[in-house]
């Protein structure tokens, strides 16, 4: 849980709160949880702000453990060149996007990046089929059949691909999201 040495200073907290929108993002709590992932000797304030936590450790957090998109989430927020570790600021970024107070714009932007499995800036058929497979479950017998998958993806493209180019880009995705009032409340991770 950390002694006084690993508590964030007040200025740093205020700095974080101002940028990340709200006092309801518990920066102190986030820092505590982040420090728990670090080895014991690196838990001081200065070190924790510079340290990076590997992907496996972040994936072991209880809030992320059961999420089928956990690898994509960590990849999207990671700023390291090989995209396999997260610093404390990346972690705060993650929490702020998933918090109550991020605007639906920001949430849909990051959701798009999470769903874009091949990172090419659009959702094409492979991305969509991978997405549906993540949603329906891991094992073979929980997946949709090939014909159902094709029909589903055809329907999705029919409904959301406005410019008929066979892929869904960010604007079209945000347009679909704006029609669903539940998105903001379900795209939330509470620490």
């Amino acid at each position: 849980m950390g002694g006084s040495g690993s508590r964030l200073s007040k200025e740093l907290l205020a700095e974080y709160q101002g940028s990340t929108l709200t006092g309801s993002l518990p920066s102190a709590r986030a820092h505590r949880r982040f420090c728990e992932l670090l080895p014991q000797e690196h838990r001081s304030v200065e070190e924790s702000l510079q340290a990076r936590v590997s992907l496996e450790q972040i994936l072991s957090l209880p809030e992320l453990k059961a999420n089928p998109f956990k690898e994509r989430i960590c990849k999207v927020f990671s700023t390291s060149p090989s995209r396999d570790s997260l610093s404390f600021e990346d972690f705060l970024d993650l929490l702020s996007v998933f918090s109550d107070t991020a605007t639906p714009d920001i949430k849909s932007h990051y959701a798009f990046r999470i769903f874009d499995f091949d990172d090419d800036g659009t959702l094409n058929r492979e991305d969509l089929s991978q997405l549906v497979n993540c949603l329906t479950g891991e094992s073979e017998d929980t997946r949709l059949s090939a014909s159902e998958m094709k029909q589903l993806i055809d329907n999705i493209l029919e409904e959301s691909d406005i410019d008929r180019d066979g892929t869904i880009n960010l604007s079209e995705f945000q347009h679909v999201i704006s029609r669903s009032p539940d998105f903001a409340s379900s795209f939330k991770i509470v620490l």
Partner: protein
């Protein structure tokens, strides 16, 4: 595959595996470009005439690409196949880079900031020159040769941000999907340096006002944040709700959030009552009228006996002015008031406090209903259900592994149902099937309404029976029979409706839920209506010289207690016992589902009882608060132990809107009508309560207004308001007409917006066709270039290696002419 000739290659594209070809999305130097880059490359190649090695395209079919503009080269699966150069261009398209490139985000927000400052509609389109027209993004496209680097764009953005006020700057920064570190850099760079303050002071009063306003906004914002975090720390149920959301999802969570809302409403109702009625009367207790019966345990159930002569009920309250300095003027002269005492008219306080509390509750209800409706309604939200389900239905709050597995199952079921529904809509049902469906629907509705009628008749008969056999003081437990019957019918009715509903089959599962809610609601409201008639219509007559208000208050108390007991029983039997039974006897693995609709209707029913009874028993909201608190913990415990989340898809925001609307319309409105009738039309009893000498309760207010009129000209506006706005009906008609006009205008606006959306969609799909056309043209340009280069190369090589065995390969290549 390709033979590498023996001269120097000016390789512009690396012939590696295709996956490495596309620009990496996190390659931050990949700023979005226009066609400028293509034209540069083209001119460079023409100048150098180097060799370009490209990946060989898979053998395509017979579609020999001719001059037709709309034919595309199709790969083996029917998807168009583009060359590497085309793909590279495609990857740099603005619509694709905005999703991944930081430079694109920065320039987008730069142009948004510029718009904010200039308050112009669109950024001006520069001279287009010879390039293609820009695409849909609102960029200021720099079409001169100096392509802005990301750093320059960033500098521009910082400069623009400096020109904004602090509040606008913060708002802009918050909306940017950039990482925390970058936002912090931007913020620190765009804060105006200290030296500029003096220069700004010279600008005069206007900037002072601006700064004042900004600092006020910032201060209030910070205060709001501090309050919010303080409130959240006070909220006792934060972790409980998080656990519930994590295990069962948003739909079950919406029940508990609704419970919290009801708690807030009751507190809002209770506080004025405590302050102005209960507290004052408790401080000045009236003289006891008779011997007070001893306290036995039965009072807690029946509400009578010892509790009758307490602050709990209407009858305890005096009808005189409390703290009156003199008892009665003996010789008609005015008595001098004692120093420091304030006369407090109890009847007026009773009437006005209740009226004010109800009014505040009404306003709060309507406001929260309209806000919830505004959040959950979207134009066109009924279409596009497949995309919405796939993109928006995963609940990230769920953290347990088994709950996640359940979510997987639910989503899979939902997707399969959607597909089945879509397919069945493709094949229209036969007329015979339609008729059959309508007939079954009509029959089931008839049966349900018949059941409701039967329950109503039963309650009516029983209540008449209770009137005919008066109850003596020793057998007060008999009074519990009527609430018992009502609660039994309320419990059994929904189960019967569920059995009947198994006969009919609806197309959409959400409709089933709405229909079930409707039927249950009709049953409950009709039963309550009969009871209200029984109290105000019959009991007032039969209890002429006793305190009928006390009786009604006690009846409502009994109903509330019985309702609570039956809810406990239902939880115990319906959830715990059913789970044990199904596990041990039926050997089924699934736990019973948590019935959200039924439980919410129970809450609404309990709240209706509170609102009905608050006139006759001012402490009833306190009882309701205690009941809700207990209910929270009991339901949570039962949920965690016995239940699973419902399998039907629940749009939590829609459901919250429905719950709040049901709370407002049948529930609150009915209670308000009942109260208005009781206050305006019914003669209060003459032996007890604050209105005992009056004809109606409302007369207390009228008497006071008349006294004010006589008091003098200084307060004459109050009687004027009373005469012309409250008693006159014209202002009400006027306000209703205005409201109707506003509603009609809003409906027309929404219709217009739908039309505009259709037009815009058409336009966008036309643009998309343009884009595909241009991409195909581009593809053809590259192909032609490659072929001409290959043709030139093969000619040279055939000259060099005449007679070698490379002939056939190259002749094949030559044969593939345009």
């Amino acid at each position: 595959m390709s033979q590498s000739p023996a001269f120097v290659l000016n390789v512009l594209e690396t012939p590696e595996d295709p996956e490495g070809q596309e620009p990496s999305p996190y390659d931050e130097s990949e700023v979005h470009d226009s066609f400028h880059q293509l034209i540069q490359e083209q001119s460079r190649w023409v100048a150098e005439e180097g060799l370009e090695l490209q990946q060989r395209q898979p053998e395509t079919g017979a579609l020999g690409a001719s001059g037709s503009d709309h034919e595309t080269m199709l790969g083996p699966e029917g998807a168009p196949v583009y060359s590497m150069a085309t793909l590279r261009i495609l990857a740099s398209m603005p619509s694709r880079t905005i999703g991944r490139s930081r430079g694109a985000i920065i320039s987008q927000y730069y142009s948004r900031t510029v718009k904010l400052r200039r308050r112009a509609g669109r950024p001006q389109l520069r001279d287009m020159g010879r390039s293609a027209r820009p695409s849909l993004r609102l960029y200021d496209l720099e079409l001169d040769s100096a392509v802005l680097e990301e750093e320059e764009k960033r500098g521009l953005l910082v400069k623009e941000l400096q020109g904004l006020t602090a509040a606008q700057r913060d708002h802009m920064l918050r909306g940017m999907p950039l990482s925390l570190a970058e936002k912090r850099c931007l913020r620190s760079e765009s804060r105006p340096p200290r030296g500029k303050h003096r220069a700004q002071r010279h600008r005069g009063l206007l900037s002072c006002c601006d700064q004042l306003r900004d600092s006020c906004v910032l201060a209030s914002h910070n205060l709001g944040l501090a309050l919010l975090s303080g409130l959240q720390a006070l909220m006792p149920w934060h972790y409980a709700l998080k656990r519930i959301g994590g295990r069962f999802g948003s739909s079950v969570l919406s029940y508990f959030l609704f419970l919290k809302t009801l708690l807030a409403f009751n507190t809002l109702l209770l506080l004025p009552l405590l302050a102005f009625i209960v507290g004052v009367q408790a401080a000045f207790p009236p003289a006891p009228t008779g011997p007070v019966p001893a306290f036995t345990g039965l009072e807690l159930l029946t509400g009578g006996g010892y509790l009758t002569h307490s602050v709990m009920y209407y009858g305890y309250y005096s009808n005189a002015t409390l703290n009156q300095p003199c008892a009665s003027p003996l010789d008609g002269s005015q008595c001098t008031p004692e120093a420091g005492s304030l006369p407090y008219s109890m009847p007026l306080a009773y009437l006005f406090t209740l009226g004010a509390a109800f009014f505040i509750t009404c306003i709060t209800l309507v406001y929260s209903m309209s806000r919830s409706f505004g959040e959950s309604y979207r134009v066109g939200s009924t279409s596009g259900v497949h995309a919405i389900t796939v993109f928006c239905s995963w609940d990230y709050k769920v953290t347990q592994r088994w709950a996640t597995r359940l979510q997987h199952d639910n989503i899979r079921t939902q997707l399969k149902e959607l597909l089945a529904e879509w397919q069945s809509r493709q094949h229209r049902r036969s007329a015979c099937g339609q008729l059959r469906r309508v007939a079954v629907l009509g029959l089931v509705w008839l049966l349900c309404l018949g059941t409701t009628l039967g329950c109503t008749l039963a309650v009516y008969t029983f209540s008449e029976l209770m009137i005919k056999s008066p109850v003596s003081a020793e057998r007060e437990a008999v009074l519990l029979l009527l609430p018992l019957v009502v609660c039994l019918l309320n419990l059994g009715g929904p189960y019967l409706f569920r059995i009947l509903a198994a006969l009919e089959r609806h197309d959409s599962p959400v409709l089933e839920v709405y229909v079930a809610i409707c039927r249950n609601l009709i049953l409950k409201m009709v039963t309550l209506g009969i009871l209200c008639y029984h109290w105000l219509g019959r009991r007032v007559g039969t209890l002429k010289d006793q305190c009928w208000e006390n009786f009604v208050g006690q009846e409502l108390y009994r109903l509330m207690v019985m309702d609570f007991i039956f809810t406990l029983l239902d939880t115990l039997l319906g959830e715990l016992v059913w789970r044990l039974f199904s596990e041990k006897q039926l050997k089924r693995k699934g736990k019973p589902e948590f019935d959200i609709a039924g439980n919410v209707l129970e809450l609404i029913y309990g709240q209706t009882l509170t609102w009905l009874g608050v006139l006759f028993s001012p402490l009833l909201p306190a009882m309701q608060i205690i009941k809700l608190l207990l209910l929270f913990y009991i339901k949570k415990a039962s949920l965690m132990a016995n239940c699973q989340a419902p399998r039907r898809p629940w749009k939590a925001s829609h459901m919250s809107t429905v719950f709040i609307s049901l709370l407002c319309f049948p529930s609150f409105l009915g209670a308000a009508v009942f109260l208005c009738y009781a206050v305006w039309q019914v003669k209060p009893s003459s032996t007890c309560g604050p209105f005992r000498t009056l004809d109606t309760m409302y007369e207390a207010g009228k008497v006071w207004v008349r006294r004010l009129e006589k008091a003098g000209p200084r307060v004459s506006w109050l009687p004027w308001i009373h005469r012309y706005l409250v008693e006159d009906t014209f202002p009400i008609y006027l306000v209703s007409a205005l409201l109707l006009a506003v509603i009609y205008l809003n409906i027309q606006v929404v219709k217009g917006q739908r039309k505009v959306i259709c037009l815009l969609k058409e336009q966008i799909s036309n643009e998309g066709e343009d884009k595909i056309f241009l991409i195909n043209k581009l593809q053809r340009v590259y192909e032609r270039k490659e072929k001409s280069r290959e043709a030139g190369q093969s000619q040279e090589l055939s000259v060099l290696t005449s007679g070698a065995n490379l002939g056939p390969v190259f002749s094949v290549k030559c044969g593939r002419g345009p």
